[in-house]
């Protein structure tokens, strides 16, 4: 019950459906932030390449589990040929996964796994390992000792928790002389994160490093350091990319950052969906990878390919 | 005079009651008493403390000192409920109804008969009781109407009905007739006599002193928050009462009827009609003239005024100002053209109650007191406000007093001051003396006369025929949305006006 009534459905939008193009609906964890925009770009690249039509939506924030469920429900009601889904909460989505299965709509999980048998594959980054890499670099950069703080975007979302815990656990296990003095949350909002980081620096005059767990958080830390005029006195390790982080690294304000491969995530998701529709074999997981980048490698082709502005 | 067996049964005794508000000594050791089956009138200038004393009885204010005894027992009245329990019921001077509820719901609020484990309102019972009450009182109103859709006078009728519905032993009426016309007033008086028969004690407050002769048994005079004297109504000369009220002799009322000498027409209204009520209303207003509008409640005078000043849209008709037709779409445009409108409903359309006296007086004239950059020269404006407070004898501790804290009559004076300051060429005054004491009325009459002498043109709508006859050069009489006559003052007297006002043979309001 997928492709026959498809023609009537797709209309408007950038994916504007002409004739018999197959429709793949992507429901992500977010929408407005650059990371998700890059995922969308990747998905659209693949769509062009494979001649399918994609739609892309996501909730306003990573706390909006219910909004995402509604979006997923509507996406299913739209009768797409395949579905891409980045679950904010797997459990909450379980019944809808069943519904997709019962309608024979193949599902590709992306960004993080879905605890369900339904998805044919998962295209994701291992956030915990990525955060551990950030911690490893932080420890090196501050010389293995001193106070470190974290500005995280969210307290409850999967990415927030994994990127925080991956970092904290690495330090606890591997760097006894590094003390994590403060963890604050700025919602990924640039202004809020700036204010959070400013207060943290005021509270801990001896702070040696701050880790910003996503783009907004990292830029907030950079802003705070700039505003206080203490560039270079605090080691900043970021996460994700974006123009501001790239600039901060090039200017030497930020030591370096972890980037995932959001374009690759989007691309691989659509590609896997197409393969599944065509009846081809799909690997069980697709590791889209993550990279540490700093001034030494920022211009490498491999890194440039995964950065977005 | 007094009926019933227990003639001397003392219902209520107030002894040495005092009440002060910040900066105002509203009551100072006031004494008052009431026996059953008596109407005891309470009179005094605006701000004398009448309403405050009544609010003490109604449980709205707590007295600072003094005792209140009901049936000889000293009582504490610590809330409206306590007052109700003591059998005290009050018709408030300021309308205190809930506009979004129906008449029946308003009357029986808090006393609904309940069904279903006390959870549901018995709506039918409510409407039936209200219907019976209205029948008993001779009120022709549908209990299911929304109060917010009623005319001011109709709301006043609802207030009265509400107070009567308590079957109270002590009934307080704070200016019940201020918004009523004569026929409704007559009906009210019949009710009062009826209640007396049944032993109810009534405290009656009014600025229409002629009424006292008709209903009151005793009259108590207050001045500046103090008790002055109590007199038997029958044997007392009203002029004596007035002199006690104001503390001086007041000059005699007889003066020549105004004659029209004006010729230049300022404003012409032609064929004014609204779907709602007005039919082909037309009249001229001349320079330096006071044009009175008379009619019964609902005759359409207010509606004419609102249409002329742009507050409501007329469906047809023409307004010609100085020979030129003008389109007036809002009171702001009217004011620009020099037409000011003082509404009969001061609470809704007149005052910003939370703002101070100065703010209210100045608000229509702010632009005249502003400099080029739009900043208000408040210093100067303040002197003007103070001048009007003095001229109109507005009783207030300062021009920075919140208007809400003024007595009803003084609030009315503030609205008048607002329009006097604006200095419009044409002023439409809708019931300008509502709730104003006798002394102050005289002063307002003088003011209107002198404005007319200065060449201003005034439309004065009033439900008090003597007032119209005293002031107006010419009188427009309306009935059911039509103009039934335009008379020179010389040709008019009360009978003639009433005749024109009832031309279609319809009487209104509380009719029996």
């Amino acid at each position: 019950a997928c492709s026959d009534d498809d023609a009537g459905t797709a209309s408007g939008g950038d994916g504007g459906g002409d004739g018999g193009q197959r429709h793949i609906a992507l429901v992500s964890k977010g929408f407005q932030h650059q990371f998700w925009q890059a995922v969308r770009d990747g998905a659209e690249q693949a769509a062009d390449e494979f001649g399918v039509d994609v739609s892309f939506e996501g909730p306003d924030s990573e706390a909006e589990v219910a909004q995402q469920i509604d979006q997923l429900q509507t996406a299913i009601d739209r009768n797409p040929d395949a579905l891409g889904f980045a679950a904010l909460d797997s459990q909450a989505a379980a019944p809808l996964m069943e519904e997709a299965a019962s309608r024979d709509i193949p599902v590709v999980a992306f960004d993080s796994g879905v605890e369900s048998d339904v998805p044919v594959t998962t295209a994701a980054t291992d956030n915990t390992a990525a955060a551990a890499l950030a911690a490893e670099r932080m420890v090196e950069l501050i010389g293995g000792e001193g106070q470190v703080g974290l500005v995280v975007h969210d307290q409850t979302s999967v990415t927030g928790v994994e990127r925080r815990d991956g970092f904290v656990e690495y330090i606890e296990e591997n760097a006894p002389d590094v003390e994590i003095v403060d963890i604050q949350y700025g919602g990924g909002d640039h202004l809020e994160s700036t204010n959070v980081a400013t207060a943290m620096i005021q509270a801990y005059p001896d702070l040696k490093g701050i880790y910003g767990a996503n783009e907004g958080s990292a830029i907030g830390v950079v802003n705070a350091v700039k505003e206080l005029g203490i560039e270079g006195e605090i080691t900043i390790v970021g996460f994700d990319s974006g123009q501001a982080q790239i600039d901060a690294i090039n200017d030497g304000i930020m030591a370096g950052a972890i980037t995932q491969n959001p374009v690759g995530i989007g691309y691989e998701t659509v590609k896997a969906a197409v393969m599944a529709l065509d009846g081809e074999d799909v690997p069980e997981t697709i590791d889209t990878g993550f990279f540490w980048y700093d001034t030494s490698n920022i211009d490498d082709d491999e890194i440039q390919a995964v950065l977005y502005e | 005079m007094r009926q019933g067996a227990d003639v001397d049964q003392q219902l209520l005794t107030i002894n040495g009651v005092s009440k002060a508000f910040p900066g105002v000594r509203a009551l100072h050791e006031v004494n008052f008493d009431l026996t059953s089956g008596e109407v005891h009138a309470l009179v005094g200038e605006n701000g004398a403390g009448k309403s405050t004393l009544m609010k003490v009885l109604a449980g709205i204010h707590r007295p600072d000192a003094g005792t209140i005894r009901v049936d000889g027992r000293t009582v504490e009245i610590d809330g409206p409920q306590a007052a109700q329990d003591l059998g005290i019921s009050i018709i408030h001077q300021e309308l205190s109804l809930m506009p979004d509820l129906t008449i029946a719901e308003n009357i029986y609020i808090g006393r609904e008969r309940r069904r279903g484990l006390g959870f549901f309102v018995d709506e039918k019972d409510l409407n039936r009781r209200a219907g019976e009450l209205f029948e008993r009182l001779g009120i022709v109103l549908d209990p299911r109407s929304r109060v917010g859709d009623l005319l001011v006078a109709q709301q006043q009728v609802v207030e009265i009905a509400k107070a009567l519905s308590f079957d109270a032993r002590i009934l307080i009426m704070d200016e019940p007739t201020a918004a009523l016309t004569e026929s409704e007033t007559e009906t009210l008086f019949r009710l009062i006599r009826d209640l007396k028969q049944h032993g109810t004690g009534i405290i009656y407050i009014s600025h229409r002193l002629e009424e006292l002769k008709a209903v009151a048994d005793r009259i108590t005079v207050m001045r500046d928050g103090t008790y002055i004297d109590t007199l038997p109504a029958a044997e007392t000369d009203l002029r004596h009462v007035i002199s006690l009220m104001v503390g001086r002799q007041i000059r005699d009322e007889t003066r020549p009827r105004p004659k029209t000498s004006a010729t230049e027409t300022v404003l012409q209204v032609r064929g004014l009609s609204t779907k709602r009520l007005l039919r082909d209303v037309g009249f001229d207003l001349r320079k330096g003239e006071i044009l009175g509008f008379a009619g019964l409640m609902g005759a359409g005078r207010t509606e004419v005024a609102r249409a002329v000043c742009g507050a409501d849209k007329a469906d047809a008709g023409e307004i010609i100002l100085h020979g030129k037709p003008v389109a007036i779409n809002s009171p702001a445009e009217a004011a620009q053209l020099g037409i000011g409108y003082l509404s009969e409903d001061r609470k809704r359309f007149g005052l910003m109650l939370d703002q101070d006296v100065h703010f209210n007086i100045l608000i229509s004239s702010v632009q005249q007191y502003a400099n080029a950059t739009g900043l208000v020269r408040d210093e100067q404006a303040r002197l003007e406000s103070q001048r009007y407070v003095d001229t109109l004898k507005i009783k207030t501790p300062s021009i920075r007093q919140r208007t809400k804290n003024l007595s009803g009559g003084n609030q009315q004076k503030v609205v008048i001051a607002k329009w006097l300051l604006r200095d419009c060429e044409i002023l439409i005054f809708d019931e300008p003396t509502r709730g104003i004491d006798v002394g102050a009325k005289e002063e307002i009459y003088d003011l209107l006369n002198s404005l007319a002498e200065q060449g201003k043109s005034i439309i004065m709508i009033s439900s008090e025929l003597p007032e119209v006859l005293r002031l107006a050069h010419r009188i427009v009489v309306m009935c059911e949305g039509r103009v039934t006559g335009i008379l020179d003052n010389a040709d008019a007297d009360q009978e003639v006006l009433m005749d024109y006002a009832t031309r279609s043979g319809v009487h209104g309001g509380i009719a029996t």
Binding site: Q73 | I109, G509
Partner: protein, 348 residues
């Protein structure tokens, strides 16, 4: 407003031989007036019907039973919140702790059922009571301490948000091991009818809310307080008591919304909820209830919630890009309310 009493005065006045004091309800008694009022009631759905018509033409997937039941399901939580807060808004108050209060109620339901292992019914009742308690505290702050409703409930919004995180340790609580809990929202109580229980609960609460608002003492006093609080007080109504009851009632609806939400997600998400209060208040106001107090209706609120739910769903079904969805929803709200104003201007 004016035309209302005109109509009546014209007709009523004539009939009874001149009663200027005649009533105002537009032609309540004439058959014509009755017809007109019925028509108006139907027209209140107009925007909704127009919208639904438009979307069914635009997308063949819109008017499927599965999608309609999806719209209703997605409206359920906001709708339940909106129903309860209609009472608060009619008193002239406001309720900003709706979203996070609901979350706290959901989290506490999780604590009761999962951590403490209470029986299903007891745990659910506990969750609803937590909502009622939050409302009660709001009511006390507003009625006794005279804190303006905006502030009292804003503070409660923050307190509930924080407490939900503290209590849940910032992690979702899963109801996977609580049999039957999920069915509260997703099950089908009425066998033949393919409507999830959450929707049935929404409808049932609409009926309950409408009865309370229109027939009960509480409803009467709700209108009285919003219409003129001072006058209501002078009339001997205990403003404090009834305000507290109104906020508690709204809190109970919030608690129910929390349970329905948790049951739908089969988990209590502690960081969800901020922003729901505005959506719920918007539904109330789109439904014709005035923020000034004194006026409002429960059915209007349901329609308001459905309008928002329908537009959101319709645009998604049409695959309109998300940024444009937001813009269009904004425009639709404007147009819906404006046509409602026009309609009432003429019809009234």
């Amino acid at each position: 407003m004016k035309p209302v009493d005109t109509a009546e005065r014209a007709s009523g006045g004539d009939a009874s031989g001149g009663t200027p004091g005649a009533p105002a309800e537009a032609g309540t008694r004439s058959p014509l007036g009755l017809l007109r009022r019925q028509l108006q009631q139907i027209l209140a759905f107009a925007s909704l019907i127009v919208l639904a018509g438009f979307f069914s033409i635009a997308s063949s997937n819109f008017l499927t039973w599965s999608n309609i039941s999806g719209i209703l399901l997605s409206t359920a939580v906001i709708g339940i919140l909106a129903l309860g807060t209609t009472f608060v808004i009619i008193t002239g108050g406001i309720e900003l702790s709706l979203g996070t209060g609901m979350t706290l109620a959901a989290v506490m339901t999780g604590v009761f059922l999962v951590n403490l292992g209470w029986p299903l019914a007891v745990g659910v009742a506990g969750g609803v009571l937590v909502g009622a308690l939050i409302g009660f505290i709001n009511g006390v702050n507003i009625a006794f301490l005279k804190i303006p409703p905006f502030i009292a409930t804003l503070a409660m919004m923050l307190i509930a948000e924080g407490l939900a995180l503290v209590i849940s340790d910032a992690a979702p609580i899963y109801f996977t091991d609580v049999p039957g809990f999920n069915d509260i929202s997703r099950g089908n109580l009425v066998p033949g009818l393919d409507l999830p229980n959450a929707v049935l609960i929404l409808f049932a609460l609409t009926v309950v809310g409408a009865v309370i608002l229109n027939k009960s003492i509480l409803g009467r006093y709700t209108f009285a307080i919003g219409s003129n609080e001072e006058a209501a007080g002078i009339s001997g109504i205990s403003i404090r008591k009834w305000k507290i009851i109104v906020y508690t009632l709204s809190g109970a609806f919030m608690g129910i919304a929390g349970v329905v939400l948790a049951a739908r997600l089969n988990s209590a998400q502690p960081s969800l909820g901020v922003g729901y209060e505005l959506q719920a208040i918007a539904a109330v106001v789109i439904g014709g209830t005035s923020l000034q107090g004194g006026k409002g209706s429960i059915v209007g609120t349901l329609i308001g919630a459905l309008i928002v739910g329908t537009v959101t769903n319709g645009l998604r079904i049409m695959s309109v890009p998300q940024e444009w969805q937001t813009v269009i929803i904004g425009l639709v709200i404007l147009v819906a309310v404006y046509t409602d104003i026009l309609r009432r201007g003429k019809g009234g």
